[in-house]
């Protein structure tokens, strides 16, 4: 941090054209990592970063500072493509990291480099309703009832929103007499109930919780719990639907960037750290489902067991992306802005 600051000052004094130069890789005792992440992980990585810095200090004696950038998953991937110097990316879905791989920022087989599809935690999609559940929302079918307003972000820009859509489709597929058309029909009816599409998961939560829009928020499980914590446990209730989807937010080292910064070792150690007991405990505390079976079992009361589909059921992200979210895809076909 002090290195960049010093360079920042150099930029002022020398001339306008003088720019921030990369911190030289030789400064091994004071490392800086940039973790470019999606919206609802701010609190998680604030804790993880503190724990990792301490662990790194014990192990190597060196100091490491981890800087964070948060935003919609798609927008963050875009920024990294445009040159944001991420050492690691921790995004909402694999498709966004695939986009980086396509431009050669990391290897195409990045997802096989870490355990569990490179997703150290999972989450699922649940409902957040107002206290007492006045609209009696129990399952996906209840979202389609007349007079129910649903808050969910825009699947074009938000990774979380794409998980929301696929979780809903999982339910639609389990209904008797399911056909391809009933899938489109479900989405059409669902988005008819959506008064506003925020660009990111956090924006949608703020719309629901702070601006008091809508009757139900479709949200990441972690985001729903956090909102409950922030706004008081008596303001909202979490409703777990009959089925949902296993969301696997993946992590990866941005190889092209760590090569330039000379931070490959510490970046790799950072991601490995996410799989340790210590980090898994932190994740569970921040309402992300840990991969560690023991820690998951210990926290069963916050992470109820429910039937979950996976992205494989949709043929993987490239197929799901093309079918549902690409320009002209199912979402474009069924979505009619309400105003």
């Amino acid at each position: 941090m002090s290195l960049t600051r010093r360079h920042a000052l150099a930029a002022i004094t020398s001339s306008l054209l003088a720019a921030q130069f990369d911190a030289p890789a030789s400064a091994a005792d004071a490392l800086t990592l940039l973790n470019v992440s999606y919206d609802p992980t701010r609190e998680l990585y604030r804790d993880i970063n503190r724990a990792f810095a301490a662990a790194w200090k014990t192990k190597t004696g060196g100091t490491v500072t981890i800087n964070q950038s948060h935003g919609g998953s798609g927008a963050q991937a875009r920024a990294v493509l445009d040159g944001l110097q991420a050492d690691v990316v921790t995004l909402a879905l694999a498709a966004d990291i695939d986009a980086l791989a396509k431009r050669g920022l990391l290897a195409a087989d990045w997802q096989s480099k870490l355990p569990n599809n490179s997703s150290p935690t999972t989450s699922t999609i649940v409902f957040l309703v107002r206290k007492g559940n006045p609209k009696a929302i129990k399952d996906w079918g209840d979202l389609l009832k007349p007079g129910v307003q649903v808050i969910t972000p825009n699947p074009k820009t938000s990774g979380g929103a794409r998980w929301n859509v696929l979780a809903g489709v999982t339910w639609a597929r389990k209904q008797p007499g399911y056909t391809e058309t009933s899938e489109a029909d479900f989405l059409k009816k669902l988005f008819k109930q959506v008064p506003v599409l925020d660009s990111g998961a956090r924006g949608a939560t703020v719309s629901f919780a702070q601006r008091e829009l809508g009757d139900v928020l479709i949200a990441w499980e972690n985001e729903a719990w956090l909102a409950k914590d922030e706004f008081g446990a008596d303001a909202f209730e979490i409703v777990v639907p009959s089925v949902s989807i296993l969301a696997e937010p993946p992590v990866a080292v941005v190889e092209a960037n760590v090569e330039k910064h000379g931070t490959r070792v510490v970046a790799q150690a950072y991601l490995d750290f996410l799989y340790t007991k210590q980090a898994q405990e932190i994740a569970a505390k921040r309402y992300f489902r840990p991969r560690d079976a023991e820690i998951l079992a210990k926290n069963r009361d916050r992470f109820p067991d429910l039937p979950l589909s996976t992205i494989v059921d949709f043929g993987g992200w490239p197929a799901a992306q093309a079918k549902y979210f690409a320009d002209g895809g199912l979402f474009d076909q069924v979505y009619v802005p309400s105003k």
């Binding site: 930029a11 306008l16 720019a19 950038s69 040159g83 944001l84 924006g203």
Partner: protein, 278 residues
């Protein structure tokens, strides 16, 4: 109805004054009060404490640095441009006048995107800069460039009408008496335009510190590194940190109020209220 022809009827006056006051209250005073109300909703101590947050301090520092670079450069460029346009005739002069105002009519988001397209990793100069390890976008230079683009017109636009109306006779006299160009500028022109210049600089500074759209595009949103004050407000708001967000917003509003106070004081001291400065 025996009022003079130059005077409006009483009800017209009252309606106009009433409407103005209502608008003033609803659109200026009320939002300001809400900002400060939210900032102090958990007491002055909580608000003060939120400003001690390292990220908040970094945002304030970054905003001051960005303004400290872009405002002086824009002031010098603004004076030079106004001087050129007011004093010389050259082909393309009218075009230049039009183009100086371009940043006013272009959306700030575009002003930011331009730099991403130029200097981004996939931009025209991106690969070249990357090879030499130079960072412009998602770093301080990008924020400075975006801010400069947005605030470019303020100084020149304030000086142009002033310089045009003042004419060149005094400068001509100075030159005839043997002054050099620099002496003429320093001793004759600068004193003539200083209040207009100061006003332009104040406006330029206020906008530089408050710019959101252009800064958002080139920032990269790295906490404690590339978040300026307006971006920090958004980040804190999204973190459910209402007190922090509104305290920072209040600080920005305070900067605007100080700007206004400085401007009024200057005008009052010079006895120039409303004259030549508008």
């Amino acid at each position: 109805m025996n009022h003079r022809a130059t005077e409006e009827a009483r009800w017209v006056r009252l309606t106009l004054i009433g409407t103005t006051l209502l608008l003033f209250f609803c659109f200026l005073l009320l939002p300001l009060l809400v900002v400060f109300g939210q900032a102090f909703s958990r007491g002055v101590d909580a608000a003060w404490e939120s400003l001690q947050d390292p990220d908040a301090l970094d945002a304030i520092r970054l905003t001051l640095i960005v303004a400290a670079i872009s405002v002086p450069i824009n002031s010098i460029c603004g004076v030079a441009a106004a001087w050129c346009i007011a004093r010389f005739r050259f082909p393309g002069r009218d075009l230049l006048v039009t183009f100086i105002e371009l940043p006013f009519s272009v959306s700030p988001v575009i002003s930011g995107l331009v730099w991403v397209l130029l200097f981004g990793a996939n931009g025209w100069l991106g690969p070249f800069l990357d090879r030499h390890g130079v960072r412009i976008i998602f770093a301080l230079p990008g924020l400075v460039l975006a801010t400069m683009f947005v605030t470019l017109p303020f100084v020149a636009r304030n000086l142009l009408p002033l310089m045009r109306s003042q004419g060149v006779s005094e400068e001509e006299a100075a030159l005839t008496l043997g002054a050099t160009g620099w002496q003429t500028f320093r001793l004759v022109t600068l004193p003539k335009i200083r209040w207009g210049l100061l006003y332009g600089v104040l406006l330029c500074n206020a906008r530089a510190m408050g710019e959101f759209g252009a800064a958002a595009v080139v920032s990269g949103h790295v906490r404690g590194q590339t978040l300026t004050m307006p971006l920090q407000v958004e980040a804190m708001f999204n973190d459910y940190d209402w007190v922090g967000a509104f305290t920072m917003a209040g600080l920005l509003a305070l900067l605007a109020l100080v700007t206004l106070a400085v401007k009024l004081t200057l005008e009052w001291r010079m006895g120039l209220l409303g004259e030549a400065l508008l």
